[in-house]
């Protein structure tokens, strides 16, 4: 459930593409008005970012911005969520609760996933939008609300109207100022800028250098179809910063869906991978990386027990001690990395086994 928005507009990256520049020109104009806006775009294209931007640039910026995803609630819950309820309206309604409309009074209400609102609820929503007043569930009084409505939709709403799954009157009520966000695959020219932005941000958060992207990774990015759009790219950049231990991101750091998605892509005109002159690789550095990675792994899975770790690595305990010293692994760091409570503060990827690390990435919430 989202009350306050998670996204910040201080770091909005636009990109150079003509389509995004047009969007931002439109946002500048639309933000000054009070009319209803509908933002359409696939999942992950940044509808909430744009909604937040409209709010922050407009005259209501000092008033609340309330974002709510209509897809999160069941048909009955959505009504109490949006309009609130009175005490005793239903079992468990022990006190009065204002709805999102009231909470956004004076400010902006972002109704995301408006296309997921059930038909029966659409009527009530339309009434609220038309009359600018709401009635709490179980209440009798009408409460006037002054909110600017921004709706977000990921499906083609006109098509839903034609199919009878979305009320035409509600659509026309919302469709005063439409903003269509292009999917990432239709503005590939923005990829380098977005990648740089996300990598820099995540690297800064973890206080590590920004990793370089290998030619194969750049090639894969340019061919992948990005079904999850900017959000997918953002998550991938986060993963890259987490996994990249050697300063250059090679294809192995990509998720297999990106790698194989790019390999199977039939996008015309994508540049083939660049076979530049082979770059020098320090064998000693690479061997040290592998060595230190395996030692950290062994120490982590044995909870810092050097004898057991040495056994796992098939070397003598005294040899392990020498190598730990040579790789500059501090025992304290390894012990705390082995501790689950501190697992997040671990800066070394090699400290976890690849499988558990990968699971952690898969489990990362959006």
């Amino acid at each position: 459930m989202r009350i306050a928005s998670q996204c910040s507009t201080t770091h909005v990256v636009t990109g150079h593409s003509a389509r995004m520049r047009a969007v931002f020109d439109l946002v500048r104009i639309v933000s000054q008005s009070d009319s209803n806006v509908i933002i359409t775009g696939e999942s992950g294209t940044g509808k909430e970012v744009i909604a937040r931007l409209l709010h922050d640039q407009g005259p209501r910026s000092r008033q609340p911005f309330v974002a709510v995803s209509c897809a999160l609630f069941s048909e009955t819950l959505i009504e109490t969520e949006l309009f609130g309820h009175e005490r005793g309206a239903f079992t468990g309604a022990v006190k009065d609760k204002p709805g999102r409309f009231e909470m956004a009074h004076g400010g902006t209400l972002f109704l995301d996933d408006i296309d997921d609102v059930p038909l029966s609820m659409q009527v009530k929503l339309l009434r609220a939008l038309q009359n600018r007043q709401v009635e709490r569930v179980g209440g009798v009084r009408t409460i006037p609300v002054d909110v600017r409505i921004i709706a977000g939709a990921k499906h083609d709403v006109p098509q839903m109207v034609a199919a009878g799954r979305f009320r035409e009157d509600l659509y026309f009520r919302l469709n005063v100022l439409p903003i269509a966000l292009p999917p990432l695959r239709e503005r590939r020219e923005d990829l380098p800028l977005l990648v740089e932005h996300f990598l820099t941000r995540f690297a800064k958060e973890r206080a590590v250098p920004v990793p370089e992207l290998s030619p194969a990774v750049q090639y894969a990015f340019s061919r992948y179809h990005w079904p999850g759009n900017v959000r997918e790219l953002e998550n991938l950049c986060e993963r890259i910063v987490q996994t990249c231990g050697c300063g250059t991101t090679r294809f192995g750091c990509l998720s297999e869906s990106v790698l194989f998605g790019a390999a199977n892509s039939r996008i015309a005109g994508a540049a083939p991978p660049v076979f530049g002159p082979p770059r020098a690789v320090s064998l000693d550095d690479r061997l040290r990386e592998v060595e230190s990675g395996l030692i950290r792994w062994a120490l982590t899975v044995t909870g810092g027990n050097k004898s057991k770790a040495a056994e796992l690595l098939n070397i003598k305990r005294s040899t392990l001690a020498d190598r730990i010293a040579r790789c500059g692994i501090s025992p304290a760091a390894v012990t705390s990395e082995g501790d689950h409570e501190h697992a997040e503060s671990s800066t070394s990827v090699s400290a976890t086994t690849p499988a558990s690390a990968m699971q952690a990435f898969m489990d990362t919430p959006r």
């Binding site: 290998s214 030619p215 194969a216 990774v217 090639y219 894969a220 996994t243 090679r250 294809f251 192995g252 750091c253 990509l254 998720s255 297999e256 869906s257 790698l259 194989f260 790019a262 390999a263 199977n264 083939p272 991978p273 660049v274 076979f275 082979p278 770059r279 690789v281 690479r286 592998v290 990675g293 090699s350 690849p354 499988a355 990968m358």
Partner: protein
């Protein structure tokens, strides 16, 4: 019927150019029954994430392309 080895090679060939661009490569060591064994070489050797990405990704791609494909072993 195209031999299994050739069908596995065809799937591998889709990702090989990207691996080679990064200074790595992949070698089909052996096809045994319905399963295959590959080896990562060059820059990919010893990278745990390359290993994992190839293992899960290639195995899935092989299963999509080849009916009753068994297991992929990455050396």
């Amino acid at each position: 019927m195209v031999p299994l080895r050739e069908r596995v090679e065809a799937v591998i060939d889709r990702i090989r150019p990207m691996m080679q661009a990064d200074g790595g490569d992949i070698e089909l060591v052996e096809v045994h029954g319905n399963s295959a064994r590959v080896r990562l070489t060059g820059m990919c050797a010893g990278c745990p994430f390359a290993h994992l990405t190839i293992h899960t990704g290639l195995e899935r791609a092989l299963r999509e392309q080849i009916e009753d494909f068994g297991e992929l072993h990455v050396l």
